[in-house]
Symmetry: C2
Subunit: 261 residues, 2 copies
């Protein structure tokens, strides 16, 4: 896909608060979803008798990718793929919804706590993506296998080929993939230090007492711990490399974002 | 509140997949919400003309606490308090809903990636809480101030008293607090190493190639970075102590959970 494609701003996806923090280009929205370790998925379950309609949020594993089929007629465009158990309620609802189940997918990376003079001006540095889409249970065998590999490797790079594959028939039967056609999406982000009120900045005595700045935040991966059943003597380099690179990247990124002017 | 109180298991909050991973006691559910750096809040906005009802998820700051009023008639029970701008759509919806807006609040702490022999058996160690409740815009001045302090200090311990307080009139006007009466709630968690299929464990040749174990995950806080406007020479001890303790606690906790039998 071309990198300059953007999501149209509509009543549904428009960033309402702090509009300039809004991001609509496909690549940046998709990158946030794929960089997050988890996504949060909201849907409306069938209403209970006489009860208010409460949405439900579940944390899930998922990734955005573009499946290119051997069939020349198929359209290749990015979709969100979500992974779950075939028996899960959301997966069954995705199977039953003829035009797809209306869901919202949100992913947020926290980059820092921003400490200002007054609690009111405190903030967070973050990157957050919200995707609205129609979810359907994926049935195509080739695309299902591709999506399982996509989600596995998006979580742990190169893990698929370094594990016992292909999945068995019963593993395939027990695994459900929701394919989400993206209706609209947007992202929102903040970087930099605190922005204090001019009046507070003029109060020299108070400023000598209140420390201001940023505490960077990142997701850290620890030393791999072998399972008691493990027979591989040394932790493989694709695992140690992943841990090292992810830590180095997320740590330095959080500092860069704190120093963003 | 007594520690043995639990949320009744209903169609709404029952953990459906891997039921034994479900947790219903108040303290453990509330602790997960308060330990998470962010919560994810879903609501149903007014439907757009002829469109499907898509829920919306927003990342927010919030905390669970029990406000004890000076008034002897008030009931003291835990509520979720969410922080936002008075102009935000969700806050305005909370002001307009007479019996409260039906929302879902979810918080998840990722503790590790669990690498098994086959992608199917891969998993995550995590603690996740889901709360269903009715959200109303909080108007009581005393409780609002208390909630702002609760949320600030839940994010950054002791920060409230160490910043420029009390908030000004215009800061108070611009800040909205949603008070959420908890209707039901539950949590779900997993700890430990991979659980592989007996058949795979019998394949010694394959097991010599596929490393299995856990990569612990925790949220790390970096070195505090002073803002260019900061006048406090040394980073205060309540900030450095928070960073050190939080890192030590989350890091060792992720390793403990990986080694959980």
């Amino acid at each position: 896909m071309a990198t300059e494609e953007t999501y149209a701003q509509t009543a549904q996806n428009k960033v309402r608060r702090y509009g300039p923090r809004g991001v609509y280009d496909h690549d940046r929205v998709h990158n946030i979803v794929n960089a997050a370790s988890l996504v949060h998925v909201a849907f409306n379950p069938p209403p209970l008798d006489g009860e208010d309609q409460f949405p439900v949020i579940l944390p899930m594993l998922g990734a955005i990718g573009t499946f290119v089929s051997a069939s020349p007629s198929s359209e290749a465009e990015p979709h969100v793929y979500l992974h779950g158990s075939s028996a899960a309620r959301l997966m069954r609802m995705g199977a039953d919804a003829p035009t797809g189940l209306a869901i919202c997918i949100e992913a947020t990376l926290l980059d820092g706590y921003v400490l200002a003079l007054t609690p009111f001006s405190h903030s967070c540095n973050y990157r957050s993506a919200v995707v609205f889409g129609n979810a359907r249970l994926l049935t195509d065998a080739e695309e299902r296998l591709w999506a399982m590999e996509l989600i596995t490797n998006n979580t742990i790079p190169d893990r698929w080929a370094n594990s016992r594959v292909p999945p068995t028939k019963s593993e395939l039967t027990a695994t459900a993939i929701l394919k989400v056609r993206i209706v609209s999406a947007s992202a929102k982000q903040r970087a930099g230090g605190p922005h204090d009120d001019r009046k507070d900045l003029k109060d020299g005595e108070m400023r000598k007492k209140v420390w201001t700045g940023v505490v960077p935040v990142h997701e850290a991966l620890g030393e791999p711990i072998a399972s008691p059943d493990n027979l591989v003597e040394k932790v493989p380099s694709y695992v140690t490399g992943w841990v090292e690179q992810a830590n180095e990247m997320t740590k330095s990124h959080a500092v860069e974002r704190a120093n963003d002017p």
